[in-house]
Symmetry: C2
């Protein structure tokens, strides 16, 4: 079997953890498998590099930033190679140049294009464990690029696809995907499996186990993922095609407090106004989430939407600037809100799911500010300080506990 | 003019020094020159990487060690690129992969084979300062290699040769080559120029301004070097072909306290015995310096030689092991010795130089234990605690002071 195993920065943060990872990989190797390991930069390495860079140049050129950050994973893989050698196992570390991890040229958020697997296959054939730098690539100029958030997960999935791996294991500090955040719902249950689509909805809703890009890539290439903990040997959660599993009506409840609501008031009731608002925001790379349009006074309308709190300042700037283009009379901002969602691939075929969710909130006296739905998700916006209670009420209503 | 400028690790050890180097390079750039900068790893970076590596594996695989150490220079060049950008100057950092700095596969002490200058020339043509990682290369497997001690000097010289640079400036923490170590001889004089051969003799005798490999390479390709300080703007010392300069009878006095003497006693007076001794040492990569063979008792002979103190333990081991092969009766070790040498390209054509040197030592009551000469060098071994005084006496005798 060919297994791709990815470990994040906290899993290789120090000598002990490096050996812990090495031993886990060696177990699979000794069982006769081909093992490819993808690593992120150790613990705080990336933060330290960024800090020094910013002390030199508050706005460092992105190309130089990627040149700098790429050293983080190179250190991790070299140390891992040394650790495996000291445990008597042949291993070799490879960086983005050596595996020709081709990307486009979007420094800091590059997209993987293709991987040359020849070197990896040669090393595996020599019965070596192959340790590969996550997060980084090279563009057509042979300049280093980095993949941005969740980059190492994406590297692992891309490698698993390119190598036709039999398994792709993503190790994190939780041991799988739960029906809800166990810190909010203590009796939340670990899901044995979840579909790509559900995982995507969960991730975008604050259950930050896997980055969306890696899940999308896994879905595209049919790479079956296992999310599991690097700290224990518990069975993880399998992320795979929904067709192969029994569709859960509701797989989980997720919440996201990184939310702000902006309302643009009194825009003229004409076609194309909403387009103008969201086009202006899109141009500045601001992701808009839930959108609500309502009838305002005197034939005008109000457009409300949510953005991530990190994007709020930028969004406000856009709104202020283009106020006239929008024909808007004013705007309001609300930051004390949160999204609470249920996700389930079987939702479409089971009516009454939304009613049950809203009923649970109503019984708990929680006011719903906005509603948004997709085929496999229902999201409501509530007061931020009621979000955790909302999650627990819904979790109970759908009987998701252990 | 195309100028290659090399700065060592202490010159880029922190933010302030990085900017200091950036400004010096920009001066040349603004004067209309093409500027290529070669950098070592910052300050203690390499030591820190080695320490962590050894904590993981006391004998890390050399290939993985080079993979690890190469990050040091990559950090330096990226930071330098950011510093130049913040000063408004277009710059680009390039690593060993990007300039195809080809070496053989001797990890840890690789030899440069060729450099692809196309990328560098393209970037220079776009009027960028090009910042290149010293010390590192890639072999035919595309694995990273490092050049060993003095590696970044060698990189700079090789680049200057490949680019047909008009100047190659090696910045250090001293402002040139002196007639003697100014810490020992306060009125030592800075030499405006010195020949490659003299520089080689000086370097091997403890005047560690330039590493021999870089001087040898410069000599081979006729690259004129300038050694100068990164801390001030004083004129440095030019290292060039002797033919072009007036030959100094004696250019300088150097001493080396990293010396131990080993005597192998009572070996049979047969052909080939000396060969056996030095062959055994050579096999273990132990450099033997001064050799003295004398007649011993009862038709046997004694062979004495000096080695670097660092090699002493290894040398003793060899001698012990092969005692019988050498037909030796015993051995003696003396560590409290030092080499003192005079170097000068004009020495060969001026008789009486040795006599003057020995006379100065004799007048000072300093006993000479061994003597060795080359065409442009005379070396004596004296008591270690008399070495500094010997240097001063000789320096005076040849009137080398300011």
């Amino acid at each position: 079997m060919l297994i791709v195993k990815k470990f994040g920065g906290s899993s290789v943060a120090n000598r002990e953890r490096i050996f812990n990872v090495a031993r886990r990989c060696i177990e699979d190797y000794k069982a006769g498998n081909d093992v490819v390991v993808v690593l992120s930069a150790m613990g705080d390495t990336t933060d330290e590099l960024i800090e020094m860079a910013h002390s030199i140049n508050p706005h460092p050129p992105k190309r130089e930033m990627d040149m700098l950050l790429a050293v983080g994973e190179q250190m991790s893989v070299a140390y891992m190679g040394m650790a495996m050698d000291s445990l008597g196992i042949p291993a070799i570390s490879l960086n983005a140049f050596q595996v020709k991890m081709r990307t486009n040229s979007s420094y800091g958020s590059a997209k993987l294009k293709r991987i040359d697997t020849e070197r990896i296959r040669n090393e595996l054939e020599m019965r070596k464990i192959v340790i590969i730098t996550g997060f980084q690539g090279i563009n057509k100029m042979e300049d280093l690029t980095t993949l941005g958030r969740g980059g190492s997960d994406t590297t692992a999935v891309a490698l698993a696809a390119a190598l036709h791996a039999d398994a792709c294991e993503i190790y994190t500090d939780v041991d799988g995907v739960y029906t809800a955040d166990p810190r909010i719902v203590p009796n939340a249950r670990k899901l044995p499996e979840i579909s790509y689509s559900e995982m995507l909805e969960m991730a975008s809703l604050g259950a930050k186990v896997l980055h969306n890009r890696s899940v999308e890539l896994a879905k595209k290439y049919g790479v079956q993922l296992v999310v599991r903990s690097s700290l224990n040997t518990n069975e993880g959660t399998v992320v795979k095609e929904a067709a192969r599993m029994e569709r859960m009506i509701v797989s989980g409840v997720a919440s996201d407090k990184n939310v702000a609501r902006i309302s643009v008031m009194g825009v003229e009731n004409e076609p194309g106004v909403a387009f103008k608002v969201f086009n202006s925001l899109a141009k500045k790379n601001i992701n808009v989430d839930i959108i609500l349009q309502s009838v305002g006074r005197e034939g005008t309308k109000d457009i409300a939407f949510t953005v991530a709190k990190d994007d709020l300042d930028a969004a406000i700037e856009v709104i202020k600037e283009d106020m006239k283009i929008f024909t808007a009379k004013g705007y309001e901002v609300e930051t004390g809100v949160a999204k609470v969602s249920i996700v389930g691939a079987g939702m479409t075929t089971h009516p009454g799911v939304a009613a049950k969710m809203f009923g649970a909130l109503s019984a708990g006296g929680i006011n719903i500010k906005m509603i948004s739905t997709s085929e496999i998700r229902i999201t409501v916006v509530v007061d931020e300080n009621e979000a955790d209670r909302a999650v627990r009420l819904i979790h109970d209503a759908f009987d998701l506990a252990d």
